[in-house]
Amino acid sequence: MTLDILSYGFMQRALLTGVVVSITCSMIGLFLVLKRYSLFGDALSHVAFGGIALGYFFNIYPIWTAFAVSVSAALGITKLRKSTKISGDAAIAVLLSSGFAMGVLLISASHGFTIDLFSFLFGSILLTSIQDTLLIVGVSCGVILTLIAIRKPLIHFTFDEEQAKVHGIPVEKLNYLFVALAAVTVIATMRLVGILLISALIVLPNITSIMMGRGFKKTMIISISLSVSAVIVGITISYYFNLAPAGTIVMLMVAMFVGTLIAKHVGLFSKKVHENNLSTVN
């Protein structure tokens, strides 16, 4: 009985996209969180909304316009930050409001809100077409493989930019590549949880796993595991109880975060660290 949801094509597509996208979000999110760029994903998704509206306005497949607008906005704001020394949070505010305003403007200029547009705002994982699935899975795999390839310089760069520069890492190029990857990830995630909840997938699994006090590799693996299980369980629950998948997934992630916070407060993780300390002393 429990496996009957897998017999539907739309469910298979939803689960496949969900799993791939959650892995990508966790990976890119860990770097964003550690660079104190947690809301960058949120800003990019609002820009993507502008991109989607642009697609509808000119009658182009909206995902393509969203990709183009988000990636150029990400690169542009990085360049602007470098040349004007605008602080990170202010840059994010500029990006977020200008992207969203562009979207609202274009929609009002055309034929108003449609159901399809709403699906971008709140996610529509169960309505993912084969074309969308192929695109999202392809793009996500590209991001994952790139991140694996550049992991060493990227970790060094995230830890300490100046040391990375002395070490001979081309930090500027790496930064541009990284923000472009983040923009691409956000577009790929839109279908799963919608523009308004993307930040949750980027931030929640990572701040939860960081609390567990492990090294970099383990932190990333824990974050991916939390994210993937929240997506699978969330989609399943939403199917059986007829709930919105995006909200269910994010609330599961919030529960994981709060649970870990309580466990840490009670001393579950610190005890382990303490034992480790004792063993190194002995």
């Binding site: 060493k152 970790i155 040391q163 002395v166 090294g215 190194t280």
Partner: protein, 267 residues
């Protein structure tokens, strides 16, 4: 004939029109341990940042006689330990992870080694050519005495232990030159002494050239082979004995150090 490890020729740096470093020139020979002294605000960090390519400057700086793109190649083989590494306190990196960041790719290492050999310098590697990355990391941790801390998060370590981890990170790249900017300021005496013995060891045994700034004149007189004294300009550069015999210089340095000390307590 071998060349100098570092040549600084007429280097000036200005911040918003104010000269932080004024026409400084000095050279560091291979195997030297140069101690740089000078009060805070003397431009020591600015000078280091210029050498490391993090700060634009006027004048000329050469690494093992090289400038331009070859300078950049050799720069990746310079170990740098700043006064304080500013990292995100939640960063989930163990001590092992941090040291691993210092590993230089085989390609870069080979390119740098070829340059060094062609200029006739002898580069004493810390590790044998066959050692794997993991062995290098373990060995670096052993040199700084942190082998039992390798699985601890870097943020859990004390300030002195963190500095030792960052020294291990710069040792693991098999440096040609190490630049240490007041690396043990604010660290207790016991850790300072451990640190100094590490410094002596890598300079004597591995023949790594070291440029080191410090306010600790006792340590400088114990360890350094040569001394430079600066306060925006270079006041002295030469043999250690000569510096410590020059009462005027010592007086000038200790007075400014005293003022700084009092100023710190006022804050």
């Amino acid at each position: 004939m071998s060349v100098n490890a570092l040549d600084v020729e007429n280097v000036s740096v200005s911040h918003n029109g104010v000269l932080a470093v004024n026409k400084i020139s000095f050279s560091v020979q291979e195997g030297d341990l140069l101690g740089i002294v000078g009060p805070n605000g003397a431009g020591k960090t600015t000078l280091f940042r210029a050498i490391l390519g993090l700060q634009s400057y006027q004048g000329k700086i050469k690494l093992f006689g090289y400038e331009g793109s070859q300078y950049t190649t050799l720069l990746s083989m310079v170990g740098y330990v700043p006064q304080k590494v500013n990292f995100e306190p939640n960063f989930p990196a163990t001590v092992y992870d941090v040291v691993a960041m210092g590993i230089l790719s085989k390609k870069k290492l080979a390119k740098g080694a070829a340059l060094i050999q062609s200029c006739g310098c002898c580069w004493n590697r810390i590790f044998s050519t066959s050692s794997k990355d993991r062995e290098k990391i373990e060995e670096s941790l052993k040199i700084v005495g942190l082998e039992s801390f390798k699985d601890r998060r870097i943020s859990e370590l004390s300030g002195g232990e963190q500095q030792r981890a960052f020294i291990a990170k710069s040792l693991v790249k098999e440096p040609l030159l190490m630049i240490l900017d007041e690396p043990v300021t604010g660290v207790d005496m016991d850790v300072q002494n451990k640190f100094y013995s590490v410094l002596r060891k890598i300079n004597k045994e591995n023949k790594i050239t070291i440029v080191w700034s410090s306010h600790d004149l006792t340590a400088i007189s114990d360890l350094a082979t040569r001394v430079a004294c600066m306060n925006r300009e270079l006041f002295f550069h030469g043999e250690k004995e000569e510096f410590f015999a020059n009462k005027d210089l010592l007086k000038m340095y200790s007075e400014s150090a005293m003022q700084l000390h009092m100023h710190k307590h006022d804050m």
